[in-house]
Amino acid sequence: MFSNNQKISMRQTFRLFLFDFIGISTLVLPTWLAGTSGVYGVFSILLGGVFGLLYLLYLGWVLNRMQTDLFTHMSTAGGLLQKLLYGYLAVSCVLTSGFLAAVFTRLIRQSLIREESYALVLLLLLAVAGYAVTAGIESRARVYEVLFWFILIPLFLMLFFSLKGVDMIYFKPQYQAGIADICKGGYMVFLCFTTLFFVLFFPKYVRPESAGRRLISSVCWAFLCTIGILLALYLILLGTFGEGALAKMRFPAVTLMSTVQMTGGFLKRLDAIMMGIWFFTLFALLNLNLFYGAQMMEKCAGIPGNKRYAGMMLILTFLLAMLFEYTDGVPEFFYRFFWYVGTPLLILIPLIPVWTGRKRK
């Protein structure tokens, strides 16, 4: 029989991670990559894929050492270290949520309701996100298990139909990108997949708990599928717009959808309808950050009350997203923080449980 235990299956894990990955990567990476490495962005994606796989292997090793999830492992570690770790991760989640909410709101306004106020769009989004966050991981996994084919089939169809607009001439590089540019692009790709870090918390939520290797394999498949989709999308975008135009576009994937003409199709333009793909995928990632942010706050404060912390996360996200929109320095600070501090720390943090585990022995 079914038990209400906030545990999810491997299929749900795969689908959840796939949606967490697809949204932001397909939305912002093509522009960034076209700007740094142009046509060679394809190699950046592949390099990012390799970085991601290595990171996942590393996380698998850490999970194997811990034999449990990070929450459970850290509950026996020193108070200060624990608080520092959770405090930093909470800040990181708040920053990411704010950034995602801002991107989300901009995307909605640009593609669907240009005249509507930024604050209202953001508030509506956070209201639904708040409802979803309090439902827990089980509910989130169910939503995305149901949505899976409803999102992927239209996406594949649209990618297929957009092949018509690809012009091979655009694959000829306009400028020669160096290895440094490709590596920079690879790091950018990896930056978009730092969500992988949350795998460390997942053994607590998956069924069966002992399935560490299966967990890594599910996430790995989700990651590889996303890299495949990203690669296909980037090639189509390059072939349709060329690297020069692509580097200047805000959300090129959405623009691509507006150019797609389906043979025998009834609707004239599909970009508004296809916005659903990014709505649901970005929503998944926003929810993930809100959910873990609330968890980190709870662990850091040491006082239980998940709904209270979810509320705090929502307020902070709202404020940050407003800052992102109306203050020039904040987006710049965000990018720099994650470029120089956030991402390197996410590589180093998993070593803490390994170190504390060894010390305990």
Binding site: M1, F2, S3, N4, S9, M10, R11, Q12, I108, L112, I113, E116, L120, V121, L124, L125, V128, Y131, A132, A135, E138, S139, R140, A141, R142, V143, E145, V146, L147, F266, L267, K268, R269, L270, D271, A272, I273, M275, G276, F279, F280, F283
Partner: protein
């Protein structure tokens, strides 16, 4: 608790107490009679008027009993009554007058015999009811036409007629401190999870209620999330549907005086199935299900989507279609949102009026409302023809949902979608879909996720997915759904 009065061998005391209990009850008939060989044995018969058939007294068990007593020698009556020497099938004895008085309310007669220290309950025709009739809310093209009645006993018999197994259990409960309504839980002993039975009993026992006059009252008291627009119990008026549920390991709750049985646990998929899905070939059943799923979606979202497309995202529609929409709206003084809202409310009013009015008049109101008023409203330029089409199509979709309670949840949500889409267009639609999905993902019916088998399907080795939107050929559906005990999942196998 008040002390009960034991049935006395002195019949006068019993009569006095009985009359005291039923003072000012004109519908209770109390008859004193002198029976026995020499008319020296005083008897007292009490029953509810109408439930005991006076003209048929000779042929009934009660008639036989009175005839038996008339010939009975005084000294043997105690022993013979104790041994049920009259050969009456449905007879019970009570030692207290109060218990006997209460038992009479089930529609049976109570007999006191002088010198005998027990009251005898003898079943007769029982309360009048409409008898087994055709189910009018769950019509099928193929399959039985029988529907449940108001009598709990008839309803359980209708299920047992279909499931002739010794493992079919019927547990009787009483709900309502004043109505003492009989509630039967019907289940297969070896298939249903015992904890579900305990849970429903616990939930029903949680409240002390004056009366439960319909299964709907029990449903509302026992559901987990009272604020959800989605029903958490499946309802049916069809004995074959209930029998099917019992065979799946689910529990059927039948309440006296209600022709609607509750099935638990349930999920979203069950609400979109009908009995004849299993009687028809799999292609037909799958096609019908696909239609119903699409109907459910459009019943909730179509008016909202129309508003989003025409008010916010006109670039989606082909120019010719958009122009024809625009032309149709020329002269309409209201904004599109108000126009849709007015038409939807008018339609709901018509539906409500049609339901409340007597049969023939109900049909008339449908024709008057749908055709005449609709036509007049279009000609008067109050609404555009396209909105009439949208509202009519939405209504058609909601009628295609086989369960009325489930369809109602879509009807309610439709207004939320209209509001959201009128406000923020397609963004509102997406937000609404997300909120509904999150809500559905949180819902459970007795521990079973509402979105089964679309979620957690690996728990049943993906077997439950074979009977969801697509109905596999019957010979491929070999397992019972998740409701049945894990070790009792096989329902079909080839003979060796």
């Amino acid at each position: 608790m008040e002390a009960k009065t034991r049935v006395s061998t002195d019949i006068e005391k019993n009569i006095e107490k009985y009359k005291q209990i039923y003072a000012d009850c004109a519908d209770i008939k109390m008859q004193e009679m002198m029976l026995g060989e020499d008319q020296d044995c005083k008897c007292f018969l009490a029953y509810i008027e109408v439930v005991i058939n006076n003209t048929m007294l000779r042929n009934t068990a009660l008639g036989r009993c009175i005839g038996f007593l008339a010939k009975l020698p005084q000294e043997k009556k105690g022993t013979l009554l104790d041994e049920n020497a009259m050969g009456i099938a449905d007879i019970s004895w009570f030692e207290n007058v109060e218990d006997a008085a209460e038992a009479m309310l089930t529609g049976d007669a109570i007999l006191f015999v002088d010198g005998y220290d027990k009251a005898i309950k003898i079943a007769d025709e029982g309360y009048p009811n409409m008898g087994v009739q055709e189910s009018d809310s769950e019509k099928v093209v193929r399959g039985s036409n029988e529907g449940f009645t108001d009598s709990v006993k008839v309803n359980t018999a209708l299920i047992r007629r279909r499931v002739r197994s010794t493992r079919l259990c019927v547990k009787e409960l009483q709900v309502g401190v004043r109505t003492h309504t009989n509630v039967d839980l019907v289940y297969m002993e070896d298939l249903a999870y015992p904890h579900i039975l305990h849970e429903i009993e616990e939930r029903l026992g949680k409240y002390e209620i004056d009366g439960a006059l319909d299964s709907g009252v029990l449903e509302q008291l026992a559901e987990e999330k009272w604020y959800s627009p989605f029903p958490q119990f499946q309802t049916t008026q069809r004995p074959d549907r209930a029998a099917m549920a019992v065979l799946e390991g689910r529990v059927v709750l039948i309440s006296d005086n209600s022709p609607i049985a509750l099935i638990l646990p349930t999920d979203l998929n069950s609400f979109l199935k009908t009995s004849d899905d299993y009687y028809n070939r799999f292609e037909a059943a799958t096609f019908a299900r696909l239609l119903r799923y699409a109907a459910g979606f459009f019943a909730m979202t179509l008016p909202g989507l129309y508003l989003a497309m025409t008010n916010f995202h006109t670039q989606i529609l082909p120019t010719t279609l958009l122009l024809s929409f625009q032309e149709a709206r020329i002269g309409v003084p209201f904004p599109a949102a108000l126009e849709v809202l007015l038409m939807e409310i008018s339609f709901e009013l018509l539906r409500e009026a049609g339901v409340r009015l007597p049969g023939a008049m109900g049909n008339t109101i449908g024709i008057v409302g749908g055709l005449i008023i609709g036509q007049a409203a279009v000609e008067a330029n109050l609404v555009s023809p396209i909105v009439v089409i949208i509202v009519a199509f939405t209504a058609l979709c909601s009628f295609a949902i086989p369960n009325e309670e489930f369809a109602f949840s879509f009807r309610i949500l439709k207004f939320a979608f209209i509001a959201l889409c009128a406000w923020v267009g397609y963004y509102g639609f997406l937000l609404g879909i997300m909120a509904v999905l999150v809500h559905l993902s949180r819902l459970k019916s007795f521990g079973i996720p509402y979105l089964m088998p679309f979620v957690g399907a690996e728990l049943t080795d993906y077997e439950d997915e074979r009977d969801s939107v697509f109905r596999y050929p019957l010979r491929k559906i070999t397992k019972r759904p998740i409701y049945a005990r894990r070790n009792e999942r096989t329902k079909l196998k080839k003979k060796e």
